[in-house]
């Protein structure tokens, strides 16, 4: 019997080192599974695996020790249990996210909804090389967006209303970036230091600090592996409704610049972040000109 491993991998079925055994990788979105899905996972791990699962570093669930002849069986039951297959190979992988605004007091942007939108638009898409997307709701970066090929980090830009400021100095005391200092009885902001975390906005007793705008900062070129590096920021305050369009632009720019076998990180190391950024955001105009 000949096995098309590439085809199996597309559906998240990974060959184990033991002949005939496979790992069934499931698709998760933003790291959330319902209780019903978990019950389904339990059932499948007992029936087709060895009664345990492995949790991946990218919020995925894998059921090891599935025999090849059970491939159809487990896939059919997954459909019934509302469990989707994961992916691997040169594709867009599981979109990871922090818990987000639903439950976290720090979150500035709805990272869960963003992850769901991005998953819907991109999960499993065939790309030149594996490409990972991650979202965090605020600069605390709990879900490590900078470790992804494409990462989004929630951010807020503070605006100051001196008329209601009581001069208590709390904002200057708590600013993690030390972007604020008291000058007389009013805070002064150094915008070049501000990391858009918004502690001033969320803590200000008199609401003198307000959110002027919110959005996602875009990081590209993060990866781990043998030669790890963090993504670099190439755009700020991307609105939630432009996330899909922005990822399309990054992928298009990447395709223009990439040599065989390169990830976004490699392209950035070769051409520089500035060239990458310009290619991503000016590609559209170039195409327009070519017409």
């Amino acid at each position: 019997m000949s096995i098309d491993y590439a085809e199996l991998k597309k559906g998240g079925f990974l060959k184990q080192k033991q002949s005939g055994n496979f790992i069934m990788r499931l698709r998760t979105v933003g790291g959330n599974l319902t209780a019903e899905q978990l019950a389904g996972v339990t059932e499948l791990a007992k029936k087709y695996g060895r009664g345990y699962v492995h949790l991946t570093t990218r919020q995925g669930v894998e059921i090891p020790w599935v025999a090849l002849e059970n491939f159809d069986g487990i896939r059919n039951e997954m459909k019934k249990l509302n469990l989707l297959p994961g992916t691997c190979g040169p594709r867009i992988r599981t979109v990871v996210s922090c818990p987000g605004t639903d439950v976290c007091g720090f979150a500035l942007m709805d990272s869960q909804r963003a992850a769901a939108t991005l998953d819907e638009a991109f999960f499993g898409r065939e790309v030149p090389i594996k490409t990972k997307i991650g979202v965090s709701g605020c600069p605390n970066s709990c879900s490590k967006p900078q470790e992804n090929d494409i990462g989004f980090k929630g951010a807020v830009e503070p605006a100051f209303n001196p008329e209601v400021c009581t001069g208590c100095g709390l904002c200057a005391r708590i600013c993690p970036a030390k972007a604020l200092r008291m000058v007389g009885d009013k805070p002064e902001i150094d915008r070049s230091k501000c990391i858009h975390e918004g502690n001033c906005v969320s803590s200000c007793p008199s609401d003198a600090w307000q959110a002027a705008r919110r959005g996602f900062h875009l990081y590209v070129g993060g990866k781990i592996g043998r030669f790890p590096q963090l993504g670099v920021k190439i755009a700020e305050f991307v609105p939630e409704e432009e996330l899909v369009e922005t990822v399309e632009k990054v992928l298009a720019g990447f395709r223009v610049l990439a040599r065989k076998g390169e990830r976004i990180a490699d392209v950035i190391n070769r051409v520089g972040a500035d060239v990458f950024r310009r290619t991503v955001f000016e590609q559209e105009e170039k195409t327009e000109c070519a017409k």
Partner: protein, 81 residues
């Protein structure tokens, strides 16, 4: 036990506590108060100062005053509705 100031109904010292107990104690103390009443909280700078006022505001209370007292800080929190 330090004396409760005239404007506050109750006082709480969380200078020996760490997150999340700092806000848990503040929250429990606030629950003993009626809406509109004021709680005085003595806390350290750094993490407690970054989290307690923010959490109190998030839960609908009003920070009336933030002032430095030697190495510590003094908050006056008016309980929300």
């Amino acid at each position: 036990m330090r004396e409760v100031t005239a404007e506050a109904k109750a006082s709480l010292d969380i200078t020996n506590d760490v997150c999340p107990i700092t806000f848990v104690k503040t929250k429990l103390k606030l629950e003993e108060l009626e809406p509109g009443e004021v709680l005085e909280v003595i806390l350290k700078s750094g993490e407690p100062l970054a989290n307690v006022p923010r959490s109190a505001k998030q839960e609908g209370h009003k920070i009336l005053k933030v002032e430095q007292q030697g190495e510590n800080f003094r908050l006056l929190i008016r309980k929300g509705e």
